[in-house]
Symmetry: C2
Subunit: 327 residues, 2 copies
């Protein structure tokens, strides 16, 4: 059994806990939290909730620790620090800061003889893998990534910070015509506005100036100004009833040409449609935990990404079983 | 530069030749043929066409030899034999015989210090990779593979063997309702007939009994009897004008559930839409040639499959470049 530890018990941590139960070769060893442990109730029976301050005492009792904090401020600290104590996997998703994060985690894990894997999940993660395979197979081609339909937490948070807003949910939606144009193989140049629209469901405080809120959303730089944005004001009851889930997904499409005169066009499309973004992310993390545990037992050290893991390492099946049943 | 050799100059061999031109780190060293070399004209200037009997003389001058014969009788002989002389990649696609083929190639390549990769392409190949990743991420789920719309060479050949048939082209077509049912996440049990239909375009000899031909096609065991099959009789001119291409493609879909009460359903879909089946297969083979060349330089020996290759090995970019641009 692969003994998994969870650091941080939010949506992602709970997703990891559920995903462990789906993998018969894994078990949950402990949940670590920065909150007072006695205030945290987990789903799994007979598993301790431990103060994050006691992590060090668990060395040798955990095969892989999953870092379930946030990418903005938690992981840049936690992943390198924990990589000094355990093999670790995180889902660091600030794309621009991945090289720096990789370097920090690589140093920590190499110095202490551990293996780490950063940026597991779906983007970065499975979408990255799809981009890489497709780019290698069709060198003369173009990649497109569409996100949604799904809830963007960052954009929902940005709306919540506007004065007069009680709560909000933002959906990112791919533009169907753009998707079709890409699938046709004609390799269009698409602006930000042409690829996605944004739809916002906003609960305003009583008496708030709705026109001002709508305008502040639609003109917000980086988040909304470059998109066609729709704003709906709804009641708290409607928000809770119709927008409680955290669905997401998207499309990675590469089109490219082959042949003597580039006369043949090919379309490679990878699509995810997820009822729960954190639970799917957690499920992907679990497969990479298995790989990291194996690499560690082979004596490998240092930081890896999803690009460095042969697919067979993700599976509980042997090479022979995989060749017989899946090849 | 990675020096590639091609054994067998049919549709696949020509596809490999074109694909080499798309990869700036590769060059074509020689084309080997069982035909008299002087009767074979290739596209690339200043590259020799050599008798397959002279393969041995090219040891040390080729980094990876691509086996472009057929899976039925050529590859079971050629791949192990060539793996004694070179690093090799093939696209062996008789799924049931893969374990035996693997064993033969593994023995030959290990004994002589080479690396081999069998069953590159799209199915087996990219479809297999998709099945493996998806199965590891969603252990509680179900895989579906749909093929088409595309030309099945084996089925077209089977029609051509019927008395009174001059030529034929057979298309395999996924049933749209079945695709939609699978995408809904309800994990239906689907019969052969429910998943695909077969459409045949047949050129009959003058005076042939069309009703008999149609009946022989529709009742042919294994090939057509289990499917809803449509037969169209057309002229040779129509066949050449409308059915000259070799398109193919398909869908690998896995749906699965996560969550405490399995309340969340996820859909992972990988889709290919290919203007040219052999050229896409060849393009996938090229990426795995790069990986095999690298593994060989690292001192690895023996037989591999697409499951054993970390995605980063397929790319000409460094780990650092990949993390910066694709993760």
């Amino acid at each position: 059994m692969i003994k998994i530890g969870i650091l941080g018990y939010g949506n992602l941590g709970r997703g990891v806990e559920c995903a462990i139960a789906d993998n018969s070769d894994m078990e949950l060893a402990a949940v670590f939290t920065r909150r007072p442990p006695e205030t945290v109730t987990i789903l799994t029976a007979n598993v301790p909730v431990v103060s994050a301050g006691d992590l060090e005492k668990w060395q040798g009792r955990i095969d892989v620790l999953v870092i379930c904090g946030g990418s903005a401020t938690d992981m840049p600290e936690q992943t390198p620090a924990c990589a000094r104590l355990f093999n670790v996997v995180d889902s660091f998703d600030t794309h621009k800061k991945i090289p720096q994060h990789f370097e920090n985690v690589d140093k920590a894990s190499k110095e202490t003889g551990h293996v780490a894997l950063i940026s597991a999940g779906w983007d970065p993660g499975m979408f990255s893998i799809s981009r890489l395979y497709s780019s290698c197979i069709l060198p003369d081609g173009k990649n497109y990534t569409f996100w949604g339909k799904g809830v963007s937490q960052g954009h929902s948070d940005a709306i919540r910070r506007i004065k007069g807003v009680k709560d909000a949910r933002q959906y990112t939606i791919p533009v169907p015509e753009a998707l079709e144009k890409v699938r046709s193989g004609e390799q269009p140049e698409l602006s930000t506005r042409e690829m996605h629209t944004r739809e916002c469901f906003v609960v305003a405080e009583e008496g708030a100036d709705l026109a001002r809120i709508e305008n502040e959303i639609k003109t917000m730089p980086n988040y909304f100004a470059d998109y066609d944005t729709t704003v709906h004001f709804i009641s708290m009851e409607e928000l809770k009833r119709d927008h409680a889930g955290i669905p997401h997904g998207g499309f990675v499409i590469r089109t490219g040409a082959t042949g003597k005169d580039k006369e043949n066009v090919h379309v490679i499309e990878y699509r995810l449609q997820l009822d729960s973004n954190p639970e799917f992310t957690a499920s992907a993390i679990m497969a990479f935990c298995r790989a990291i545990d194996r690499l560690s037992k082979e004596g490998v050290t240092g930081c890896k990404t999803v690009f460095d893991i042969a697919p067979a390492y993700l599976s509980p099946l042997s090479g022979d079983e995989l060749r017989r049943t899946m090849l």
